[in-house]
């Protein structure tokens, strides 16, 4: 009986969400993809100023925006910024610090992450870079989803507020492949509910799913990390991806799995030019 119920759920999800007909994207062309992505959202939401897309659901719903503006006087992520600042300045046991691992001592650089590392041939997110910095200096890595990692990235995002995303995709087959894998992950349906990331954040931004207003994919990474009332705390980009997978009844990948990094790379590239707004707060 449960099998039939499971099949019914999948079929229902297919009917509700529906497939968006479009021709296949056969070649890897980030520039064309970027323009199409940008046009889709700006034409669909002509009254939303471009830079306001980084405010996610608040750019879609006036009432929700009022609530957010009211609580932003006492931002729930302030503690994370303060803690992250203190952590960032505290030297490791070997005397070095986070600043030694990053360009510009790690201040005001959030907008350049993730980047493609041509030496290792992989996408490096800020979270991954922070833990690699720790390990290179003899420290244990942090959990990727919350607590210390969220505080560190909150502080680093805060030092970049207002700076436009500047994600590069070099003309390197490995970088282009990472971009395409990220795009594929974003549009691939998964989980028992048969949802893709795009099902919610391309096809349904501004619509409600239960009590939540769905955020547009454009600019969705700019507010990371975020304080979520639902989590009763801070969460990183990794936490957001893991939670999304769970919500569609899919087993999440490990935080910072190559595919998660690729999809962050893809979405961040799509947000190029939009200002960093993190850390953010969401319902």
């Amino acid at each position: 009986m449960r099998i039939f119920r499971a099949i019914a759920v999948v079929l229902a999800a297919l009917v509700v969400v529906g497939a968006r007909p479009a021709a296949a994207a056969d070649s890897i062309d980030p520039d064309t993809g970027f323009k199409a992505f940008r046009d889709y959202f700006t034409k669909r939401f002509p009254n939303v100023p471009l830079n306001d897309f980084v405010n996610g659901p608040y750019s879609m719903d006036a009432e929700l925006r009022k609530q957010w503006e009211a609580i932003d006087d006492f931002s729930p992520y302030d503690f994370a910024i303060d803690r992250g600042k203190e952590m960032f300045a505290t030297p490791f046991k070997n005397g070095k610090s986070y600043g030694d691992c990053f360009p510009d001592s790690g201040i005001g650089i959030r907008q350049n992450y993730p980047y493609f590392d041509d030496k290792t041939g992989e996408v490096i997110t800020l979270e991954l870079a922070l833990n690699r910095c720790r390990e290179a200096n003899g420290e244990e890595p942090y959990s990727y989803v919350k607590d210390e990692m969220a505080s560190l990235t909150a502080y680093m995002a805060f030092t970049s507020r207002g700076k436009p995303f500047d994600i590069k995709i070099p003309n390197d087959p490995r970088a282009l492949a990472a971009y395409e894998k990220g795009e594929e992950y974003f549009y691939t349906r998964r989980g028992q509910l048969n949802f893709s990331c795009a099902s919610c954040h391309v096809q349904n931004p501004g619509n409600h799913i239960r009590t939540e207003v769905l955020a547009p994919a454009l600019g969705i990474v700019a507010a990371m990390p975020i304080y979520r009332s639902e989590w009763n705390g801070m969460g990183t980009m990794s936490r957001r991806l893991v939670t999304c997978n769970s919500q569609v009844r899919g087993v999440p990948l490990k935080p910072q799995d190559e595919l998660y990094r690729d999809v962050e790379y893809y979405l961040s590239y799509m947000s190029n030019g939009l200002p960093i707004s993190g850390p953010g707060a969401r319902p």
Partner: protein
């Protein structure tokens, strides 16, 4: 007389069909489910309900309830196969949703 014989055979068959599952039945069903779920893992597309059904099967087996254990293992196998089918279908179908 022939009608009575038919009825008796039918009842016997029905009884056989409803015979209690054994530990061996469970092990066979579990092995099939685990193999399918591993295939889904290879495609990075496991489903939470599959994991839940597998856990429920093992719990029921540990309690000696092999009917439930077999039923849950078979449900897990069906779910795993559905996730595999989804992953294979999406290997090309994802392109249909791309903004262009």
């Amino acid at each position: 007389m022939r009608a009575w014989m038919c009825l008796a055979v039918t009842l016997l068959l029905a009884g056989a069909a409803q015979a209690a599952s054994t530990e061996a039945d469970f092990k066979t069903a579990l092995a099939a489910a685990v193999a399918a779920e591993q295939d889904a893992g290879g495609l990075k597309n496991q489903w939470i309900p599959t994991e839940q059904a597998l856990a429920a099967a093992k719990t029921a087996a540990a309690a000696g309830d092999f009917d439930t254990a077999v039923a849950q293992a078979k449900a897990a196998e069906a779910l795993a196969k559905a996730s595999i089918a989804q992953a294979k279908e999406q290997q090309t179908a994802w392109k249909a949703g791309v903004i262009r």
